[in-house]
């Protein structure tokens, strides 16, 4: 049986995914070489020495490729059968790391073994992918069922909690990506809409005075109801616009609270009119949204002001760079953006990145490796990398959709979710698009645990996919 599987595995191997994987790994190696390259050093001296990160990464890649090959020869049923066991092992590792782990940069996230470090949270992603797929593909699991929902969420909430205790907020955040597979499999879409709305309103609440947000929300509600006025609609709209203009100008004159109060009265009046009309049904959900959004806007603003200074700084760096101290919290993002910007359209050329070479960028071989791409390869290189990742992600969804086995599809989407969050958050962070969250860029960043874990996840995907016809 094993022989037949292997034969069919190689025959049906998805060469596109494998090529994308190998390209990204190769590019990653070149970027790490560029970061640590110093003039006058011999090539072999750099590549075959375990004293520097290029040599180490070369070894990690070697181990990973071996592992990939190994995975292709493992019976695909192995993963489903041992999914929970693997999950349990990774969870135990997360427990253990809290006790006997090595503390680096104030986080106890690593096991130190024979001069190398192992980051169990990277492997917990793999374990959780398998466990989630296994759970969702169980006959008794019904995604519309509350108990199933709670269990599914619990599966990724457990590693989140354990990783937050290290503490490593970035890695913990990655596990929320399982919401993607849950969405694909039928989790209530309204929950996502509500979640996204709440997130947006909360972020706005950080930046703007909540009074303005409440004013804006009330205006949206009024506009919705104005829309239902059938007669003389043009006059209603003109009146609404006049009110908006007057309201905003009054607010800029310091009359925020009175304007908000009057708007409240107008809202009640409009609600009364609406109540007289035909579509009473919209009032309830509208007010529900209004209250929830208003609550989060006020709450996020209030919470932000209660946050300790350094956490406020982190958010300021992202949302309001002008308020952050350029020499403090903002420094990394400024240098990162300058470095990427200095690449221009074409980039400075391989090994010509002065800013990365001169250590302007923090963590440049790991979390900020994308700066090297931006500086040396320019916008062309940036588009190239983003394009490769996008192709990879889309390819995974295509693979997912062609699986006969639900387990395989769930697994593919879980993996896609993890990869997506890493990809978007990491690159977005280097360009100031998202807050600085310390997670590596898969396949590219330096680090053994990361490349090994992502290789294994890729390998399992390839293995599952190559056996898709066997199911």
């Amino acid at each position: 049986m094993s022989n037949r599987n292997v034969a069919s595995g190689l025959k049906n191997l998805d060469w596109i995914t494998l090529s994308l994987y190998l390209s990204l790994v190769a590019i990653g190696w070149l970027m790490i070489y560029a970061v640590s390259y110093e003039e006058g050093q011999g090539f072999t001296e750099i590549v075959f020495s375990l004293d520097n990160i290029v040599g180490k990464q070369t070894m990690f890649i070697g181990v990973s490729l071996t592992m990939l090959l190994l995975l292709l020869f493992i019976d695909w049923n192995f993963w489903r059968t041992f999914a929970y066991l693997i999950y349990a092992v990774t969870i135990i590792m997360l427990f253990l790391v809290l006790i006997i782990g090595k503390e680096i940069n104030n986080a106890t996230s690593w096991f130190a073994i024979a001069g190398f470090t192992l980051q169990p949270s990277e492997f917990a992603k793999l374990g959780t992918c398998l466990a989630m797929s296994a759970y969702l593909s169980t006959y008794s699991t019904q995604i519309s069922n509350l108990k199933s929902q709670v269990t599914a969420i619990g599966l990724f909430l457990l590693p989140i909690i354990l990783i937050l205790m290290q503490p490593d907020a970035g890695s913990a955040l990655v596990f929320t990506s399982f919401l993607i597979v849950l969405f694909r499999e039928g989790f209530n879409a309204n929950v996502y809409i509500l979640g996204i709305s709440v997130t947006v309103v909360s972020v706005l609440g950080l930046v703007f005075n909540p009074v303005y947000i409440l004013f804006g929300l009330a205006l949206l509600a009024i506009l919705a109801m104005v829309n239902f006025q059938k007669r003389k609609k043009l006059y209603w709209l003109l009146g609404f616009l006049t009110y908006v203009v007057l309201g905003i100008s009054a607010m800029t004159q310091g009359l925020e609270i009175p304007v908000l109060a009057i708007t409240g009265v107008v809202l009640v009046g409009m609600t009364y009119l609406q109540y007289q009309g035909r579509r009473r049904d919209i009032i309830k959900p509208m007010y529900f949204l209004l209250v929830v959004a208003g609550f989060f806007a006020v709450a996020s603003n209030y919470t932000f002001n209660k946050l300790p200074r350094h956490q406020q700084d982190r958010l300021n760096v992202w949302l309001q760079p002008s308020k952050a101290d350029p020499r403090g919290a903002l420094y990394n993002v400024i240098q990162s953006k300058n470095t990427i910007g200095s690449g221009g359209l074409q980039g400075k050329g391989f090994l010509e990145g002065t800013m990365t070479k001169l250590n302007y960028v923090p963590e440049q071989s790991t979390d900020f490796i994308f700066c090297t791409v931006g500086e040396e390869q320019g916008f062309v290189g940036t588009v190239g990398i983003v394009g490769l990742f996008l192709l990879f992600l889309l390819r995974i969804t295509v693979i997912a959709e062609r699986q006969r086995a639900d387990f395989s599809r769930y697994y593919a989407y879980s993996f896609a979710g993890i990869l997506f969050v890493h990809f978007f958050v990491n690159i977005g962070m280097t360009m100031g698009l998202v807050p600085v969250i310390g997670i590596p860029l898969p396949f590219i960043s330096y680090g053994g645990s990361s490349i090994l874990a992502f290789t294994m996840m890729t390998g399992i995907l390839l293995s599952l996919d190559s056996n898709r016809l066997t199911a």
């Binding site: 002065t354 394009g387 896609a416």
Partner: protein
Amino acid sequence: MATKDMYKSRSRIIQGVFIMAAVLLVLSALNIQVIDPEYRERAQATTVNKYTLYPSRGLIYDRNGKLLVINNAIYDLKVVYKQLDPGMDTMHLCQILNIDRKTFEKNIKPNFRSVRYSQSVPFVFMSKISARTCAALQEVLYKFPGFSLQLRNVRGYPHQNAAHVLGYLSEVNSEQIKASDGKYQGGDYIGSTGLEAYYEEELRGRKGTKFILKDNLGRSVGPFKGGAQDSAAVSGLDLISSLDIDLQAYGESLLKNKKGSIVAIEPKTGEVLAMVSAPAYDPNLLTINRDRGKAYSYLLQDSLKPFLDRSIMAEYPPGSIFKTLVALAGMEEGTMTANTGHACSGGYLYNGTVRGCHNHAAPYNVEIALEHSCNTYFFQEFRKLVDQNGFYNPEPGLDAFVDYCYQFGLGQPLGIDLPNESDGNVPTTDYYDRLYPKDKGSWKSPTIMSVGIGQGEIQMTTLQMANLSAIIANRGYYYVPHLVRGFRPASVQIAPRFREKKQVPVSPSYYPAIVDGMRRVVRTGTAALVNIPDIEICGKTGTSQNPHGKDHSVFFAFAPKDNPKIAIAVYVEHGIWGASYAAPIASLMIEKYLKGDIAEDRIAMENEMRDADLIADNP
């Protein structure tokens, strides 16, 4: 095995989210890398330090190749605010620089809102740091990221002389920067007076630029783009001055404790050999260092005005030396000859008043009149000159005389290569019309005849007096006096106007009488005291009347009589008679220049001159 897939369409939404996210990243990169140049510029500003390479300013030599002005190293400490380490040991730095914390705080945070300063561009934290402090600082500079030292050259003077001629440097002011079309930047030095100012263009050289890559701690790591955008500094031209520094120093020693000036010219070339103004100061006082401000204001407040260059900026009545010019003009105009004689009864009586003369032999020709400096003689000759068209028509005569004055270089700056040369004063008909405005013609030759003996309205600079002497020495021509002899490299020529022979419109045949008269002055006349047996000095004493105190002592001379090597004018304020100070000093200068040493029997005179203190006597 597969269950019914109700939500297959959601895969499209997920793909859509992936694509949107990728587009968002690409757009963001497009903005940062392609559209908005701000990031690129900031990257360049933070990674590349622009250094100005200052050219070394040209040196100044004397005519014998002795160094007069050299360059000394001094340092500016510059800082890039953004590269500072907030945790640095400020006290340590203050200690090395010998400043207090307050100064530190003030210097480290200039007004960043001003366009002159930027937090990411180096600005001068402290300037004029001595080489010694710099050495101490260099050792620990690595502890202070963001700080860098910049070498500047300031002037040094191996001799303590010729301060007025050499001039000094100052920092450029904002107007100079604006007018310079980018040549100067704040903190640059510019020649402020003297040769330093006049030959600023030649001495300055051209600045260079160097772009240096630096790492995140502000340490230099190498040239930017392999130095492709760098440009080297070009040194300024060395200036070879016509001064003889030994003669200059000697002159300054003779004028010690006196107010006055000496100008010595080589008649054949117009080159200025010495140009002394007393009181002088040591030019080293005004070299750029941290004590300079104090020295400057001290000198500025000195009531003796040491900054005033009395050789070209002060204007005096020339006194009797002017009689030579009156005689030359009279002979050329034909109102007199070399043999014209007058009677002198110890005064000149006109209209009931007597203008005094001295007791002397009868001036039966111009030589004897000069020998004894007969006032009566020159009153009459000057009047004859003015009245050549009739007593009631003095204007044409005066105009003719004024024209001679102009041709002899009076009444306007001679054009020496120094800033701020005065023009002196030649009283014209217009001048007298304004002075006696009752009605036209209210002045006549007797009104203005004191000009004939060099008193009254006629005023000259010492340089003009020396030049007059040079004209007589040359028997009728001169070169515009100048202090530049050449440049190094020699391919750069001095201004052509200094090589242009200026002929004076008096026939050479009239000069021998004047020269002989001047020779008589020194041999047997008013300056017989300073006669040197083996040098044929021709000279003329003068006493410049001073309504505010003791008269001024004047003497001008050239030597030797034939083939003159030096023409000189000496002016000693409050020295009374020409023979009392100016003549001995001039003769010593001539002897020093021609022979190198002072004869044994004249040492006493030398000492007397050196030791005389006319400032204490005439405060």
